[in-house]
């Protein structure tokens, strides 16, 4: 274990700060939560590979809904926000509050861009006739990506509060750095969940000449 980690631990029975331990326990439980949601989506995608019927009674195909450029952009944005978050945590450990504020503003900005992309995607899908009620795909997709989006929104809110809290002068020293580190853990977790969703929900739809789930529909739009 590094000297940095050793010297920053509070004197607890486990040698780990309680706040950090609780956050890791929460992330482990959230892992199971998202694991179940992703499993459910993939399972029902396998069982019901065809599309859905829109409000006008037309049969629609799932593959035509996705916009890989938009999703790739969102993924890139979220990955870069994770990088800025790591820099923000590092800045707090070094006691560089101005650098922390700059990086945290970047994370908030990228988080808002990601949320904007998700709102655009949901609106586009709704215009195409996909609702949470009219198909199994709609139900599992909106619940999974909506839950992730909610996590991102909570993360953005948390970081905004931390940003303004840093101006009170109370976000200093070891405890201040720990608070930022815990917010960072949550943000990185949101990022790793999206890494899995990006592959399991989006990229998989483009595999093979007729889509991974074998609907018989050519992917050319």
């Amino acid at each position: 274990m590094s000297q940095v980690a050793e010297s920053s631990h509070a004197p607890t029975s486990t040698g780990i700060d309680h706040k950090k331990l609780i956050m890791w326990l929460f992330l482990a439980s959230d892992c199971m939560f998202f694991g179940t949601l992703i499993s459910t989506h993939l399972l029902y995608r396998k069982l019901y590979p065809t599309g859905f019927t829109d409000a006008e009674g037309h049969q629609r195909f799932i593959q035509n809904l996705f916009n890989i450029e938009l999703t790739s952009f969102s993924t890139f944005i979220l990955l870069m926000s994770s990088f800025l978050m790591a820099l923000a945590v590092s800045a707090m450990h070094k006691g560089q509050i101005k650098s922390f504020r700059r990086n945290i503003l970047g994370v908030i900005f990228f988080g808002l861009i990601f949320l904007g992309c998700q709102v655009y995607e949901f609106t586009h899908f709704l215009h195409q006739g996909l609702t949470i009620q009219n198909s199994v795909f709609g139900s599992t997709f909106y619940v999974l990506t909506g839950t992730h989006g909610t996590h991102v929104a909570i993360g953005v809110l948390w970081l905004i509060i931390l940003y303004f809290y840093s101006f009170t002068g109370k976000l200093v020293g070891h405890m201040g750095a720990l608070d930022v580190e815990i917010a960072g853990l949550y943000w990185h977790f949101v990022d790793i969940v999206w890494i899995i969703i990006f592959t399991a929900v989006y990229l998989v739809e483009y595999l093979g000449p007729t889509g991974f789930w074998g609907t018989g529909l050519p992917l050319t739009k």
Partner: protein, 110 residues
């Protein structure tokens, strides 16, 4: 070790981490780019799927080990997270095994 020497070590450690973060961010962006290109290649579906899973796993572990500091932190935290992830993966495997059929006959629901 004196207080000044400890501070110097901490600063050196943070600078080293800073360089790791930049390198990692570039690698993550590059891997995502490779994933996007892969799905359009006319290669066997099973090969692409395997490569996509491996690349996702690399990105996943890179973030939890370096960005989330698990590589520098207490081992217990690593095992706590692995336990949650293991249970999630076990649920995934169990569900796919339970419903290992090609498609449901919808006449049962009509």
């Amino acid at each position: 070790m004196s207080h000044a020497a400890t501070d110097h070590n901490l600063a050196t450690e943070e600078i080293r981490r800073y360089h790791h973060f930049i390198t990692l961010a570039l690698w993550l962006a590059a891997i995502t780019g490779v994933e996007i290109v892969l799905i359009f290649l006319p290669v066997s579906l099973s090969i692409i799927l395997t490569v996509l899973c491996v690349l996702s796993a690399i990105k996943f572990f890179a973030v939890i080990l370096w960005f989330m500091h698990l590589i520098y932190d207490h081992r217990l935290l690593f095992w706590i997270f692995i336990a949650g992830m293991g249970l999630a993966f076990a649920t995934f495997t169990a569900l796919l095994s339970l419903f290992a059929v090609d498609r449901i006959d919808t006449k049962w629901f009509s």
